[in-house]
């Protein structure tokens, strides 16, 4: 037995468990159930419900198994007469004023109170007084309704708010019999993660307003699936009844989500029933718009593309995919364009990330064993909420320190031991300076907004760490700064006293998968570079195109100049999401053929000659690869008569001569396993339970950046940083969204100095201008960025902030009073 283990006896079974294990968890390891209400392994012990009383030899009182650490030679008994009487007693107290409206209770059938009563409770009650009455439907927020009568005051929800969210937004109010769950001043409890309290409430007190009284839990068909909204890929259960969406619940996977989902997962699926859905294929190729069978539309699209490629050369067509597509969709599309249409004009993004890392790609769970978390240009709270919880966990309850390097302040700063803010646009120079300092050379930080000492303290933190996880958001790194960052990562990797790894935390659901699947103009799947012709041919066949393709922004440019004739856009909306916005629409209008394959009508689909319906998450099966490189299966759940996306793509390929038959999405997964380096172990079986980490692609470009080139460009206006918000008012969260209360007003964050120069004050209505794009916003004078910059969060599609950005994401803006 190791030093850190303890052996004890529970109900005559001898168990050896790690020191510090609670008796209740030790019992679980040998299948002994000790009933609980307030205890939850992610929240730790509180000991308030008294449900878990057990007898411990040599202790005169009964003890709560949830608060008690195992001790050497401890003898625990969980079924003695004394214990049973205590359990009955506690349950009698718990039920004393409980309404027992099980017949209409959302929790009925999956209720710990029902279950514990059934197993351990008294068969009857001696309570002969009127039960206390209380509010049956107190709204805590637009999405959570509290039945005060059913609350058993276990404090799971309030402790979740305190321990997990680190907010103390939800608290116990009042005293004794009158205590109740509430908030300060009765304000709504509307954090980004509020819905988890519904799942952990051991009774039907906290209810999902959307699901309330909609169905009995045992009538639901539950799919074990994933959230499709961000790169975390949290696990969730989709409950369906008679093919109607009912509710979403968390489905713990410690490798991914640590047991939680954010509110966008729980309430961000209204789009499944949106009136804006594309349900039919349509074409305008023969004149007026008309609908046609999907199969015909797919054939028409394929033939039309082929025709243009034949006439004008393969370089005249292109594909813009989406970091929201599944691996199967992404893989099949790049295959179609490369193998059937002969072009490398394939891309999925407008930032400069490339496949592969110079240091290991860490799984999200590696954060838990790190002693330093370095967050670079990433705002987990707004971009990848569940990552925020994991960071807070290791910083507040684990042993990790947090360092933040960003051009905007974020909520993470509150937890950071060191928080450095560089000037907007100075990222590359700061990364280069840190890399040089680590390499023992001079690090130049002049005009970056941070000082040499600050850089040194960051270096000291790195050097005294035993294990560091670096989290960076490539999508927030403009220009080529991501290359410099990768060089920095390789320098950090050289610190011999430390293990380290990185998590490329682009906010999008399958950003990692899209890189891995080779939806890139210059890489084949698995990060195989075009430059390595031999490898390409070996992997994808002799006829694989080797000419470098156009990036997404280059395709737009060439569309504008008339060189690109046809474009297929899958699940993307360049008109709103690409830098330049309006210019993009103009360019797309010049194409001979625009095909859009999407789930919802967008500004882009409106311009399309052929529109193909995409089922998307909730309907289609597929795999996605999360920010930690973990591949998991995202099951559909709802049935539809429309073909899944992978099938539509396969129809197109077949039209052009491909002969592969795919039976299910897993047939494509199997091909991916065979064809994509790093995905060899991925199969239906291997990813079933917890998903499986794929092997990261080989890192290719290790060039040391030219420090002169990484100098920030001088410019007159204020440098713009567009911040991304997951809870933005877009196509997914439309005006009818249940999460509309999370929408924020358009706000431009200015530094005090700049505000003074411009004569602006808090709350002023202004127009942010770049070229001929104007965005209305309200001024907030905050320390969100250094002088000389502005932060403009992207809060809706309508706001049109991307119109302000230059093609490389960089831009300067002017601010005028409205």
């Amino acid at each position: 037995m190791a030093d850190n283990e303890v052996t004890l006896t529970i109900d005559d079974q001898t168990i050896t468990v790690p020191k510090g294990t609670k008796v209740v968890d030790a019992a679980k390891t040998v299948g002994i159930e000790i009933p609980v209400f307030c205890y939850h392994e992610k929240l730790g012990s509180l000991g308030c419900c008294r449900m878990c009383l057990v007898e411990v030899e040599k202790m005169p009182k009964l003890m709560t198994a949830c608060t008690m650490d195992v001790g050497p030679d401890m003898v625990v008994k969980t079924t003695t007469e004394r214990v049973e009487k205590a359990q009955k007693g506690v349950l009698e107290f718990t039920l004393l004023n409980h309404p027992l409206d099980c017949p209409v209770c959302d929790k009925g059938g999956e209720c710990p109170l029902q279950n514990n009563t059934f197993k351990y409770g008294p068969g009857d009650t001696r309570m002969d007084f009127q039960r206390a009455n209380n509010l049956k439907a107190a709204p805590l927020s637009p999405v959570i309704t509290l039945d005060r009568e059913r609350c058993i005051a276990c404090q799971r929800c309030t402790r979740y708010s305190e321990v997990i969210e680190q907010d103390r937004a939800l608290v116990m109010l009042n005293r004794g019999f009158h205590n109740e769950v509430g908030t300060f001043n009765n304000e709504p409890y509307d954090t980004r993660f509020s819905g988890n309290v519904i799942d952990i409430c051991p009774v039907g007190a906290l209810t999902n307003t959307q699901f309330r009284f909609k169905a009995r839990t045992w009538d639901l068909t539950n799919s074990d699936t994933l959230c499709a909204h961000c790169g975390c890929n949290c696990n969730m259960t989709l409950g369906v009844r008679t093919n109607k969406f009912m509710r979403i619940e968390s489905r713990p996977n410690d490798y991914v989500d640590d047991g939680w989902i954010c509110d966008k997962a729980r309430w961000g699926y209204d789009f499944l029933e949106s009136k804006n859905r594309i349900m039919e294929a349509r074409t305008t190729l023969d004149g007026a718009s008309k609908t046609l069978p999907v199969k015909d539309a797919a054939a028409q699209a394929a033939n039309a593309l082929k025709k243009i490629a034949d006439e004008h050369g393969p370089g005249s067509i292109g594909f813009i995919g989406s970091p929201y597509g599944t691996n199967e969709e992404l893989y099949l599309y790049q295959k179609l364009f490369r193998q059937q249409l002969g072009t490398n004009n394939i891309d999925h993004k407008v930032y400069a990330e490339t496949p592969g890392l110079p240091i290991p790609h860490y799984d999200v769970s590696e954060i838990e064993t790190s002693d330093l978390v370095l967050v670079i240009a990433s705002d987990p709270t707004e971009e990848l909420p569940i990552l925020d919880l994991r960071i807070k966990k290791v910083v507040t309850r684990g042993n990790a320190k947090l360092a933040v390097l960003n051009d905007q302040s974020t909520l993470m700063d509150r937890y950071a031991h060191l928080s450095l803010r560089y000037d907007i646009g100075a990222a590359a120079q700061v990364f280069a300076a840190l890399a040089n300092t680590l390499a023992g050379e001079k690090g130049e930080v002049q005009d970056t907004g941070i000082t040499g000492e600050q850089l040194n303290s960051l270096m000291d933190m790195l050097k005294s760490s035993k294990k560091t996880t670096i989290i960076y958001n490539p999508a927030a790194l403009t220009g080529q700064s991501v290359d410099v960052l990768k060089h920095l990562l390789s320098e950090i990797g050289k610190i011999s006293s430390m293990e380290c790894g990185a998590i490329p935390a682009a906010p999008y659901t399958n950003a990692v998968g899209a890189l891995d699947m080779g939806v890139l103009p210059n890489y084949y799947p698995g990060g195989v570079p075009l430059a390595d012709a031999e490898a390409v041919k070996q992997q994808s066949g002799e006829n694989s195109p080797l000419e470098a393709g156009l990036s997404a922004m280059e395709m737009i440019e060439k569309a504008n100049s008339g060189e690109l004739k046809a474009l297929l856009v899958h699940r993307a909306n360049p008109v709103v999401d690409f830098p330049g916005s309006k210019k993009i629409a103009d360019a797309l209008k010049k194409l001979d053929l625009l095909i859009v394959h999407d789930m919802l009508e967008t500004e882009t689909s409106q311009l399309a000659g052929i529109v193909l319906p995409s089922n998307g998450p909730g309907h289609d099966d597929g795999t996605t690869t999360n920010i930690g490189g973990r591949v998991q299966f995202r099951k559909g759940g709802l049935k539809t008569t429309n073909a899944p996306d992978w099938k539509i793509i396969s129809m197109m390929a077949k039209t052009l001569g491909d002969e592969t038959d795919y039976i299910t999405s897993f047939s494509v997964t199997d091909e991916i396993a065979k064809m994509v380096p790093g995905y060899g172990d991925i199969s239906k079986k291997s990813i079933k339970k917890m998903g499986l980490a794929r092997t990261a692609a080989q890192y290719q470009n290790g060039t040391k950046p030219d420090s002169a080139k990484s100098q920030p460009a001088k410019s007159d206006g204020l440098k713009l940083r567009i911040a991304s918000y997951l809870f933005a008012h877009d196509k997914i969260l439309d005006a009818d969204s249940r999460l509309a209360h999370q929408f924020k007003p358009s706000t431009v964050h200015l530094h005090e100095d700049d505000a003074k120069k411009l004569g602006l004050k808090n709350g002023d209505d202004v127009i942010v201008v770049s070229g001929d794009t104007q965005v209305r916003a309200e001024v907030e004078i905050s320390g969100k960025c250094n002088p000389g910059g502005v932060v403009l969060p992207r809060i809706s599609d309508e706001q049109g902030v991307l119109g302000l950005a230059g093609a490389d994401g960089i831009s300067s803006v002017e601010i005028r009073k409205a």
Binding site: G47, Q155, F177
Partner: protein, 418 residues
Amino acid sequence: MTQILFKDINKKDLHTLAVYEETGGYKSLKKAFAKEPDEIIEMVKASGLRGRGGAGFPCGLKWSFLAKDVFPRYLCCNADESEPGTCKDRELLLKNPHLLIEGMILCSYACRIETGYIYLRGEFYDLCEIMEKALEEAYAKGYLGKNILGSGFDLDIHTHLGAGAYICGEESALLNSLEGMRGEPRMKPPFPAVQGLYAKPTVINNVETLCVVPYIVNEGAEKYAAIGTEKSKGTKLVSVSGHVKKPANYEVVLGTPVREIIYDMAGGMRDDNQLKAFIPGGSSVPMLRADQVDTPYDYESLQAAGSMLGSGALIVLDHTVNVVETSLRLVSFYMHESCGKCTPCREGTRWMWQILHQIQTGKGEAAHVEELLDICDNMSFKCFCPLGDAAVAPVASSIQNFRADYEELLQRMTANTV
């Protein structure tokens, strides 16, 4: 009659520094500073002083439990005095605030503490002002602040008013309240000596406990240990209330028979009525019968008699009382003061109250008495903190000792319905 805490208690203006010094106040500091801190702890251990807040834990031992070499450490003086019947700390705070300050300085020096808090119950608003004035005087005279009397020892003391919750007298709830959190007891372990206020090692002592320390330092541990019984050393302030002629606080040498306290000190029963019952240690301890009145007033004897010394509040009931009413009154207190954290106390106190109320108003049922006893059993030692057990004490002991009182009320009910 040995008087330690109340020696000069009624001296005019004792609450001022000048008068306090006349009575020998603050003399102990020089003596203490001449010794090593650990020596003071040893003295307090040797004196046999036990906590006067209710639990009676040996004071010196508690001080020696502080986590080694972890600083800062804190001292919290528990002046929440909310136990029904108890009002002895109040008299000390009102009339002799400097005695407490002197005691806190000694404790802090012994335990290497540089910050102390006096947690006063919310209703002690006026006492807080008196305390503040006394602190001001002590600072001005150099008894508090930096480098006290040239010893190199620093100490700051702050007052803090609670918001009126009995549970905040429980030491860990007190810490929560002091930190600005909800007044609910904390899980133990960790004990305050290891992780108390702001998760730092913390000493929590009752007002009276701390007030004894100057005597021990001045007169020596042996002298204190010579007072009282073998295991219950020294004197104890007893708040005598109820049906006596002279209800008041009395300083009693531990071991004095209860009879003497009631009949000699407090002047006997009102109207020379018959003694029926007494609660020896505040509302949280079981009540005893008149035939137990010769029990010596000390920790061990009261425990042997089936009760406890508790906070030292002797509540005396004469023969006019039906104890159902007493139980109802006390249970209604506990129902009101239950913090609500744990299920048995939150629900049980209210249920007991409902049943007792029913019986009291003549609507009880025969089965109710057994039911009450069973509820008591389901609560006792199953709650999160001792408040739940305290709520059980009056009910269980009143049924055990005076079942006839319950029967009388139940019969009245039967008579009513017939």
